[in-house]
């Protein structure tokens, strides 16, 4: 079966249809309070596995707020290996290169299925080689939350790394040696998993803000360390120095200004990549110069967005994850810097923030002439990322802008067909590159407004042709024939399949 994007959909999955049927969303499960009402504090991983009877075939979940500094998933994976458990499903909100033990567990059949929103690490080539028994399911951040709330991802045990927790299980991410700020991606796990374990290296008498609530927590596992502080801050939160990146960012803000969307009360989200941060910087200058105040900014929050908030340019910050220490410090002290759950951020089952955005700025690994965007795989099919909130916000925001160089090293980024669709083209409005700006023909309103802007407007085909004229037409590397994963949209329909790597 093929979906509306002409991409293969394996049997048993719902094909992407182009529009979300908001009247027929999946019902939410009932929240699942803690089962254990006795003592919760435990200091042995093995003891937790015994008490929860963790066994073959179960589904275990994790969050990624500690990013490449996360030790918790590795602690649990070592215990899985020691016990030689088989056919487990893992549901981490993201996977990073430090989770390298995963390769061994996949090859040994201990892990047979993974749900995640982002994946980057050496295990990508193991999954790409088809060594995992079942499929890899790549969700969006909002989609993962929706899947958990509706029972599509049925979690047996959620392991929740918490930088500051009480012995009863209340906690947050604001303080402690592994402080990471918002714990937004784990809230659905806390509410809907069958059993929940807080894992912490910092037992405190009480917490002021309870992101993690004791009534949902079965056990508190005390360990020496849950994270490596230096690796918790994202490595991507530096503004680009690259003049091409700065030019793209400048063009993006000029394009947005020309649409008239940057006005008092507007809302926006920028990513944490170098060009996105430069957009935030140019936006800040534009807003200051024109005395414009935004109602809110959302998403992964960075130092740049915090500085806009503290300068009075943005009223509220809705923070599902803190990308750097400045954001962590801010969430603990600024009253209008709100920690939100992934559900509140982007789940279709909630009145979510993504759907209220006026503008989102996103990056791309590849864009095609139908405006489809790939941030999941490299051109050879190797998984190097994933949607995260890309498809959620692109779908929800009134204007979605993709900022990308036309060429990276010697490869055109605008192609005839992206290797993997992460975000469908109908959700993408403007593509900004250093050599030209293309507006999706579906957005006649935006084209009209940009006509007299003096910006270098061209069609997406012209952008593609320009890239090819400079770098030549790249050959598409061949991939294997076996589907090893699927990419799901925020309504859990399938937008694309990920194929095995060529042997």
């Amino acid at each position: 079966m093929k979906n509306i994007l002409n991409r293969f959909v394996p049997a048993g999955f719902t094909p992407y249809r182009g529009l979300i049927d908001r009247n027929n969303l999946r019902p939410r499960l009932k929240r699942r309070p803690a089962v254990n009402t006795g003592d919760k504090l435990i200091d042995s991983v093995s003891d937790i596995f015994d008490r929860l009877k963790i066994s073959d075939g179960m589904t275990l979940s994790f969050h990624h707020h500690l990013r490449a500094g996360d030790r918790v998933m590795n602690i649990i994976m070592r215990e899985i290996k020691r016990r030689n458990l088989k056919n487990l499903t893992l549901a981490p909100s993201s996977l990073f290169p430090n989770h390298e033990l995963l390769s061994e567990l996949i090859i040994a059949g201990c892990v047979s299925k993974i749900y995640t929103d982002y994946l980057n690490g050496p295990f990508a080539s193991v999954i790409g080689a088809g060594k995992m028994n079942d499929l890899l399911i790549m969700d969006t951040h909002g989609g993962r939350s929706y899947a958990i709330e509706s029972g599509d991802i049925d979690i047996d045990v959620a392991f929740i790394a918490v930088p500051a927790a009480t012995v009863c299980g209340d906690g947050n991410g604001y303080t402690g040696p592994s402080a990471c700020g918002s714990l937004g991606y784990t809230i659905s796990d806390m509410l809907y998993a069958r059993r929940k374990v807080v894992v912490t290296d910092n037992i405190v008498p009480a917490v002021k803000t309870k992101e993690i609530r004791k009534e949902y927590i079965d056990y508190v596992l005390s360990v020496d360390s849950i994270g490596i502080p230096k690796k918790i801050a994202s490595g991507t939160t530096r503004i680009t120095n690259d003049p091409v990146g700065l030019l793209i960012a400048d063009n993006a803000v000029r394009a947005l200004a020309a649409t008239g969307v940057i006005k008092n009360g507007f809302s926006f989200q920028t990513g944490a990549g170098g060009i996105s941060l430069a957009v935030a910087d140019y936006l800040k200058k534009y807003m200051s110069l024109n005395n414009i105040t935004a109602s809110f900014a959302s998403g992964g929050i960075t130092e740049y967005i915090v500085s806009m908030h503290e300068a009075g340019l943005v009223s509220d910050l809705y923070d599902v994850q803190c990308f750097d220490l400045a954001a962590v410090n801010s969430i603990g002290k600024n009253k209008r810097h709100h920690a939100i759950s992934a559900a509140r951020y982007a789940s279709l089952s909630e009145d979510n923030i993504a759907d209220k955005l006026d503008v989102v700025i996103l990056g791309a690994t590849e864009v095609d002439t139908a405006f489809n965007v790939n941030v999941t795989t490299a051109s050879d099919g190797l998984i190097i990322g994933g949607s995260g909130g890309h498809a959620d916000t692109a779908n929800g925001a009134a204007i979605t802008v993709i900022v990308t160089p036309l060429l990276k090293t010697r490869l055109p980024i605008v192609k005839e067909r992206v290797t993997t669709i992460t975000t469908p083209g109908c959700d993408v409005d403007i593509v900004v590159t250093e050599r030209g700006i293309a507006v999706n023909p579906l957005r006649v309103d935006l084209s009209e407004k940009l006509k007299s802007s003096g910006l270098p407007l061209m069609t997406i085909q012209e952008l593609h042709d320009k890239a090819v004229a400079i770098a030549g037409r790249p050959q598409q590397p061949p991939h294997g024939k076996k589907p090893i994963g699927i990419v799901r949209y925020r309504d859990l329909s399938v937008v694309d399949v990920i194929y095995s790597l060529k042997e």
Binding site: P243, V244, L246, L247, L407, R410, E434, R435
Partner: protein, 279 residues
């Protein structure tokens, strides 16, 4: 007529292909100081292929090596129809003569449709002293001050205030004006100091330099603004020209006397503004 020219190292493919993106009026592809000895050949080949295959719509200048090892090979390789000017470092009478003779030879052999000009880079005390003689030579399309080598030659410190290059700037601006060629100011080398760049470029313009070299794309917008007429200057120039069209001889505008030199300056201001698409 240019305001800005961006130095781009010729050995870097990524920088070559984005050289025309930043609103510089000219680009100087550098085969000299930016390229290490072992990369000279590769940079030259890369630049030749780039110029052959890429269409860029701004003036193309190449800084060659004024060194017996590479001088001939550089000129022989780059003397093509896409080249507008050769920037000759450590220029003196002999090297200018040699460069001109090679250019004439290759233009003839290759049936090039236009003449390639020479821009001497004056960066020694002797060169500054001999500016009149050097700039009077044929095919000179402009001149550039090289402050780093000049101060090294003088044995003095290069400072952000630029006091040490006051005389060279004044002399180069004066001689260039006398020969009706562009005077390109030396680059400001601290790419993170925007305020310093603005001060330095303004000082150069005040002394009569007509353009400035940049070593980073971020410097271009400031240079373009400083070396172009301001909105107020353009508006006043347009008013002067309008009134001069209706009035014979000297007249008064805003309480000031307007005579022929001022009308002429207004004409140049409007011409520049049109060229830089400011009106």
């Amino acid at each position: 007529m240019i305001r800005s020219c961006l130095f781009v190292p010729a050995h870097n493919p990524g920088m070559l292909q984005t050289a025309d993106l930043f609103d510089a009026d000219a680009v100087i592809f550098d085969l000299e100081d930016a390229v290490s000895y072992e990369e000279k050949d590769a940079a030259r080949s890369l630049l030749v292929e780039f110029l052959k295959n890429f269409k860029i719509d701004i003036k193309v200048i190449v800084r060659i090596n004024n060194n017996p090892l590479w001088f001939y090979h550089d000129v022989a390789a780059i003397a093509t129809e896409r080249l507008d000017a050769v920037l000759l470092p450590k220029a003196d009478s002999e090297s200018l003569k040699k460069a001109l003779s090679l250019l004439i030879r290759f233009e003839k052999e290759r049936h090039l449709p236009k003449k390639i000009s020479l821009i001497p880079l004056l960066e020694t005390a002797t060169a500054i002293m001999n500016a009149e003689e050097l700039l009077a030579r044929p095919r000179i399309g402009g001149v550039m001050l090289g402050a780093e080598d000049f101060t090294a030659d003088m044995g003095i410190e290069r400072t952000k205030s630029g006091t040490e290059i006051l005389y060279p700037r004044m002399k180069i601006a004066l001689v260039a004006r006398a020969f009706h060629i562009i005077a390109i100011d030396t680059p400001f080398t601290d790419i993170n100091d925007e305020a310093g760049l603005i001060k330095d470029a303004t000082a150069a313009r005040t002394l009569g330099m007509s353009a400035k070299a940049a070593i980073h794309p971020r410097q271009i917008s400031h240079i373009n603004r400083i070396f172009a007429p301001s909105a107020a200057q353009i508006e006043r120039a347009q008013r002067i020209l309008k009134k001069s069209a209706d009035t014979a001889g000297v007249f008064s505008l805003d309480g000031k006397m307007i005579d022929q030199p001022i009308i002429e300056r207004a004409r140049k201001t409007v011409e520049k503004a049109k060229r830089y698409k400011l009106i």
